[in-house]
């Protein structure tokens, strides 16, 4: 088995149908990112487990991968989202903990991002409450955008919808968030999304 480090994910996945071990290279490329996302959503308790399940599910359905996407991240995130859905109670508890942790105030931080961190600490508890109250589909989309940092097109591919629909839904979600935060966000900027 030879792995071309320049090969796209789509190439690796296609070749892994004949040489299954090649799929391990896809794991090695993207597992840290998927694990970080799962950790953020579910915590350490389930992060390893759900990450392994995500890649096993991806391995099992790699024959249906859309080869027109050279980068497998959106596909993997889509699978991860479905795996995370199976742990709704854990996520709800996680969001409650996040809210409490943020309410305790910011840790001392001398990084360049201190202003954003202070803002996060100030708005965090309310934002965490808003996040917990969002419908599941809206929360999934918002976190793919904010935490996984997917583009509209990538989030759309992950959720099996269109970029236009994603953009419209995100706008609606952000309007709701601003309303529920009482329009008090001191970092508010009147710019677009991307």
């Amino acid at each position: 088995m030879t792995i071309d480090t320049q090969a796209s994910d789509a190439d690796l996945i296609a070749r892994s149908l004949a040489e299954p071990d090649l799929f391990t290279a896809v794991f090695d490329r993207h597992s840290a990112e998927i694990l970080r996302y799962v950790y953020a959503r579910l915590g350490a308790e389930l992060a390893e487990d759900v990450t392994a399940e995500t890649f096993l599910a991806a391995f099992g359905c790699r024959g249906r991968y859309d080869g027109s996407w050279p980068d497998a991240r959106p596909w993997l995130y889509g699978i991860a989202v479905r795996q995370i859905r199976r742990h709704r109670r854990v996520e709800a508890r996680r969001l409650r903990l996040l809210r409490s942790a943020l309410a305790d105030g910011p840790a001392e931080d001398h990084s360049d991002r201190v202003v954003e961190r202070v803002t996060a600490a100030r708005l965090g508890p309310r934002l965490a409450a808003v996040l917990a109250a969002l419908p599941r589909q809206d929360r999934e989309l918002l976190l793919l955008f904010a935490w996984a940092e997917l583009s509209y097109a990538e989030a759309a591919a992950a959720l099996g919808t269109t970029a236009g629909a994603v953009k419209a839904r995100l706008h609606r979600i952000r309007v709701r968030m601003r309303r529920e935060l009482g329009g008090s966000n001191p970092m508010n900027e009147e710019n677009g999304d991307e």
């Binding site: 299954p20 487990d49 099992g60 900027e189």
Partner: protein
Amino acid sequence: MSEINTLREMRPAPPPAELEAMRMTARERFVAGTRSRRARRRSRLPALAGGLTAAVAAAAAAALLLTSGPGTVPGKHETGGRTRTVVTAAWTVREDADGTVTIYMRQYTDPAGLQQALRADGVNAIVRQGPGASPTFGNGTTALPATGNTYSTCNYADTAPRAVQRAVVTFAGQDLPARFIIHPDAMPPGSALFLPFLVGTRSPKNANTGIVAFPPVVLTSDTVPACGGPHS
């Protein structure tokens, strides 16, 4: 973008060393899962080629009926991409195509049915009423500070080393419903998985049901040992 930036700052993140350790554990599980899946596929091919599909399906259906204990919810056996699932009112046992067996525990009832379902999935399981396995609490009665509920615990002797326990059993949640994930391939030869059903005494101050999910424990043999090991 302010809400989005604020959300990004809020994202919980593990320390890099912890992330890498978790990633390596996930990788081991992934690689083991793919090998197990491929091995199963290979072993099934001759049977399918021999026209035994109907016989296999009939055997699976019979196994499902055998493992359905009291309170079974009819028509809930799923076989799609998974090998099989047995659902009762008290618990669900799901065997995935990669050999992993997951127990979703809702109530501690029908231990015999659960034991039968696990054994049908290749897990040498022993399920019975008994104190929860806890090297930390040791032998005796323990009141959990968080709830005030009281439980019998036991530091069972003759259990497999902690590394083996971690490889065989992962679990989520102490409150019911709890989830136990069993990796039968990681069980040493001759070992058994002991799942004690533990019902505690509910504190009058607490609305909790008085039931807590102590995870299964890997024994070095298929005999349940007495309590008596020292505290760890």
